[in-house]
Structures are given as structure tokens and as C-alpha cells.
């Protein structure tokens, strides 16, 4: 790196590392909901990204409502929007499981087709009822700026909040699946549905709640993505590939694997994008993933307990 001072290189390394961490958080947030639905419940949910977009729209519309009706809350409404997007996505997910997915557990390939259809329906609903144009949430000024550590280092505020949110959500999910009754029921149901049913657990209800929670988490992720990307009816297409990628590379059944694969992909693409130009970096990223999946066909951390 000729011609740059040590200070400049130091600053760039710091900022680029932070970019990598932000990317890791994004990958994890995209993957969390899918981890429950695909990794635990075994449903290939092609409409996963639309639940992210549903969260984004909730955020946008809520921000519009707040700025027009309750301007006093302008600075803090983001914290209200997060439970709201969870609630709405949870509700839609709950209904979708009830009326669609629950009928398809024994037909995984049909699920693929049905959820793909669902994703098209949801996209068209966004287009028809909310509008085809891109939307933007009116975010409070403090969330958009950066924290200037010194002259050359700027750390995005949204990145810091992203980090906190990711830790919070992942921690919550770990606690939920290991420490709560509902979480245990969910794991029991996905491991052996018949036996769990025989023990007197309402597996149908468990499925519905699990699916809803997964969608709700995606909704929160989507709400937060409005701080850094666009909201349009087809925005989901930008997320769906990465969501599946991070989960598959990590190994389906493992939350730890999701984290490691997120870190792996984030590190790899941060390095590649820094030393190459954008499109070429993407090509190399996919090539590396291809090789990794040839070697570890079940992902980096596959669930070894399952037969």
C-alpha cells in the first residue's frame, strides 16, 4: 500500500473490520428466521425474504404515521417499530403456517413451490396495496450519522445498533430454545413429531408459534434494514440468496454454525471486495463457497446427532 501513512492504513483496517462485523450481523439477522424454519422445522421457505420486506414496510409506514400524527415521538419511535414489526410479521407467519404450511409437512417439494407462490403473492400485495415505488422510512437524524472517533475513522451509528440488536436477538433465541418450555417443545417436535404428540404436546400449535416467531424475527431484521437499504416490493430478491447461503454453509441445524458461517462469509467478502472490484469479488466469493460445499457437503457444522 505505497503512498499511505501508517495512520491511514490503521484507520482503514479499523473501519474495514467494522464493516466486516456489520456484514456478519446482517448475515446472521437474515439467517436467524430461516434457521428455525428451514434448519429446525425442515420447511424450505422461499417466501422468507418477503417477511423481511414486510418488516421494512411496517417500519416505513409506521414512521410515516408517526411523523404525521405524533411528531413528539420522532426521535424514539424506532424502538416502538421493532416490537410492532415483530408482531405483524408474527401474525402473518402464524396465519401462513395455519392455512398453508401445516398442510405440506409431508411434501417438502410442494412446500418449495407453495412458498415460492406465496412470495409472489406477497410481492404483488406490496405493489398493489402499498405502491410500486421505493419507500424510505424517515429515520431520526441520530441514527443515520456516524461517530467520528478521530479525523479519519468514522463508525456508522446504525452499525453499532445493528451489532447490539444482533447480539440481543441471537441471545434471546438461544435462551428461548434452551430454557423455555415453548422452546423445548419446538425442538422436541422437530426431532420427533409423533413421539412428541404422544407425550401430550400440541405439536400443531407448537409449529404455528415457531413459524410465527421465525417470521417475527425476520420482520425485526427487515425493519432494521431500512436504515441501510431500500424498501420496494421486490427488495426481497436481494436477500433471499444470501439468507440461504449463510444457513447452508453453516450447516442447517446449528445456530453456532450460522454464526461461524456468517463470520466466514463476511470476512471473505470484506477482504475480497477490498482488494478486488465489486463484481469480480462476488465471483470469487461464490467460487470459494462452491469449494467449501464440495468438501463439507452438509455445511461447516452439521448436526451430528441426527441419523
Amino acid at each position: 500500500m505505497g503512498g499511505y501513512t501508517a495512520q491511514e492504513i490503521y484507520s482503514i483496517v479499523v473501519m474495514q473490520s467494522f464493516s466486516g462485523v456489520s456484514l456478519l450481523c446482517i448475515y446472521v439477522l437474515m439467517g436467524l428466521g430461516l434457521y428455525i424454519i428451514f434448519g429446525q422445522m425442515g420447511v424450505i421457505n422461499m417466501a422468507h425474504a418477503e417477511f423481511l420486506v414486510l418488516g421494512s414496510y411496517t417500519m416505513c409506514l409506521f414512521s410515516k404515521f408517526i411523523t404525521e400524527s405524533v411528531p413528539a415521538l420522532e426521535n424514539i419511535y424506532v424502538f416502538l417499530a421493532i416490537p410492532l414489526s415483530f408482531g405483524i410479521a408474527f401474525g402473518v407467519g402464524y396465519l401462513v403456517e395455519w392455512f398453508l404450511i401445516s398442510r405440506l409437512y409431508k411434501r417438502p417439494l410442494d412446500t418449495l413451490l407453495a412458498t415460492w407462490g406465496l412470495s409472489l403473492i406477497m410481492q404483488q400485495c406490496f405493489r398493489t396495496f402499498i405502491g410500486a415505488r421505493e419507500m424510505s422510512a424517515d429515520l431520526p437524524e441520530w441514527l443515520l450519522g456516524s461517530w467520528s472517533v478521530n479525523d479519519s475513522i468514522d463508525i456508522p451509528i446504525s452499525g453499532l445498533i445493528l451489532l447490539v440488536l444482533t447480539i440481543f436477538l441471537t441471545g434471546g433465541l438461544v435462551l428461548y430454545t434452551t430454557k423455555t418450555r415453548m422452546g423445548l417443545r419446538m425442538r422436541a417436535t422437530t426431532q420427533n413429531r409423533q413421539m412428541t404428540g404422544a407425550l401430550g404436546i400440541n405439536t400443531k400449535m407448537t409449529d404455528r408459534v415457531s413459524f410465527g416467531i421465525a417470521c417475527g424475527i425476520s420482520g425485526i431484521a427487515g425493519a432494521f434494514f431500512t436504515t441501510m437499504a431500500s424498501t420496494s416490493p421486490s427488495a426481497g430478491t436481494n436477500y433471499i440468496v444470501d439468507s440461504f447461503l449463510v444457513l447452508v454453509v453453516g450447516g442447517l441445524g446449528s445456530l453456532f454454525g450460522l454464526f461461524i458461517s456468517g463470520a466466514f462469509l463476511a470476512l471473505l467478502s470484506s477482504i475480497l471486495e477490498f482488494f478486488m472490484t465489486g463484481s469480480i469479488a462476488k465471483v470469487w466469493l461464490y467460487l470459494v463457497i462452491f469449494v467449501v460445499l464440495m468438501k463439507f457437503t452438509k455445511g461447516l457444522f452439521s448436526d451430528k446427532v441426527r441419523s
Binding site: M135, M228, N238
Partner: protein, 419 residues
Amino acid sequence: MKTTNRKRTPWGQSLKALLLPTLMAGSLTAAEYPTAEVNTTGLAVTDDTVTVGQLHSITGTMAISETGSVEAERLAIEQINAMGGVLGRQIKIVQEDGASDWPTFAEKSKKLIIQDKVACVFGCWTSASRKAVLPIFEKENNMLYYPTFYEGLEASKNVVYTGQEATQQIIWGLDWAYENLGARTFYLIGSDYIWPRTSNKIARNHIERYLAKKDPKCKVVGEEYYPLGHTNFRSLINKVKLKKPDLIYSIVVGGSNVAWYKQLKAAGITSKKYNLLTISTTEDELLGIGGENAEGFYACMKYFQSQENPNNQAFVAAFKEKWGADSVIGDVTQAAYLGPWIWKAAVEKAGSFDIDKIHAAHPDIELPEAPEGYVRVHESNQHLWSRAKIGKIMTDGQFEVIAISEDLIEPDPFPEGYQ
């Protein structure tokens, strides 16, 4: 670059000056132009109507962008009809949906031309859709009025290009940045497809061959492309911070735009410390980006909604009245509005709807008081002479027009030494 001062008309003349001659032409009755004489090739022209086609994407990903063009063309046609139509004939529209799918565009254009026998077509938006319909327009000999600014390298006798080709948007804008922002080092960024790549090629060439002659310090310090729909620009932004260019030259399109500006702001790249000039961000995109995220950056276009001349104010008012007070009008929407007016002028000049005759009539047709200001059809290539403008992004998502090219800029779709 050649420019001209010929027939420059100052803005601010009354609307009457524009409308009077057109009203008189409109008052000509169809009887003075018998159908057998004005239509010798079997187009859909009757004694009191003429049918034209409209071919844009109403559905699919491009619908967001193309809707403005559909609305502008409809407004123009409605206004022309209110003035008495073309050669005393009311214009009827057959609208087809290209559905954001290029083979569908080709199929629908065939339907419009062969089955409906339309007198001309207003349509297409992306270069890909134009390329898909081009062979059909050339084979069947019909006329397409195409509104989008595009990469150039094309001049069909069956297409009238009412938007800018690449050199009209790029060269003057770079010169302006060189003079006014003191730009010497440039970082070129684009989405990864033909238009941004060709445009940046022209920009690089201009910087390295012309600007570098004026000041040897001028150079391109980076050139990068990201896939359409890309939403993570953090690594790129860090590279930009390392290279510290005087000017970030951005041709990022579509949904990526939003991510790009929001992340720039989050990383501390704002107009306080950096200059950014774009040729891909209009009022339409700013709706999604939010003006506050791009405030103070510059765009080079030929039209901004905020232009203060009476014709533009009348146009904006009419547009909002017809399509809703929330409508925004970007560069391409205005260019689409010009299409029907140019066609009307060509038909009246030729005294005929025949494609060959209106092709012959196109050169030198003037719209003295188009919303963007005076424009004229080029002598040979069916593009428009027009003035480039620099707009500065404001928090409300509109532009403040801060510079206008003194001369009309010649459309030059095949620039020498730029390929």
C-alpha cells in the same frame, strides 16, 4: 465538442408564444388533409382519428421507473387532442404491457405495428427493451419515440431518442466539476451492466485525454462495478475514503441507490467533506433514498422538476392535476412528454403520417419552450440538441438548479475516440 448558439430562445416567454402556432395548426380540419393523401401506407388513420401505440412495462420490476413515462405521454396526447389533434384527427392510444421482459416487448411491438397498424409507438425504457424491438421497427418501418437517457452507439432511422445519449450527460458535467469543484481525482462507480460501463468509459476517456491536458494532475483513481441489487457498499466506501477522490462519479441504479447513499452517509461521506456527481439519480430515485441522505450532492441531467420557467411550471401543474399532487417528475418523464409533441410537429411539417415522410421531416424540428427549455431535433441522427444542467440535491428530494450549459449540446451517439 461542437455547440451552437443558433436560435437560442430565452426562457420566460409567455406560454402563448408556444401555443399560438400550434393552436392554428390544430384548427386545420381533417378535410384539408384527405386520408388517402396523408396515409399511403395503410396505417390506422381514419378521417377523424389516428391510432398510436404505447409500450412500457406496467408490471414487473421496471414498472416503478416506466410509470412516469406512461403518465407523461398520456398527458401530452391528451393536451394535443384538446388542441384539435394532429392534422385534424384525434389521437387514440393502444397500450400494451412489456412486463419488464424483453421478448414480451418484441412480441407486443409486433402486435402494435402489424395487427393494430399504429402510426407510431411511444415506448421502451431500458436499452435491453429497445434493442429487443429495434429489428421489428426497422423491418416493418415504423417509428419509436424513446425517452430514456442511454449509452449511445445507436442511431436508427426508426427511433427518435428524446433523452440524452451518454456524451451529452457526461462531458459537460465533468468539465463543470473540473471548473467549479476543482475536481482532479475521480472515482468512477457503477452498477454492472452496459449503460454504466459505457458511460464510465466515456468519462475515463474524457478525464485522461482532455482534462489531463489542462491539468496533468487529473486522473481516475478507481473504477468499480457492483451487481444490480447489491446492497452492501461498505468495503467500497472504505476504499473511497482511502483514495480521497475530489469527485465520486456515481452511476448506481435501482434499489442499490438507496443502500449506496444511506451507507455513504452512515460512513461520514457527506457533502461537507466530499463531492459526488451522479447521472443516474433523479427525483424518482430520491423518493426512495430520502433527500436528507444525499443532500448537497450533484446530479447532471437535462431536466429538473424545480426548473423555474413558465412552461415547466405549467407542465408540472398539469401533471400533478392529472396524476396526483404527490407525483414527482424526473428527467426521463419530461423526455417522454416531448415524444408526442415531436411526432405531432413532424406529421404537420410533412403533411403526412407516412413513416418515411415524418423521418424526412424530423431534422430541425424545434420545441422552443419545452419544460426543460429549447430543444431541437438533430440534423441527421434523430437525437435532441439540449442543454445539460447541474442540480444540487435538497432535503425535500428536489434539486436546486445551479448551472445550465450555455450552449445547446450536440447529440453525438458515436463519439470519436471514446470506444
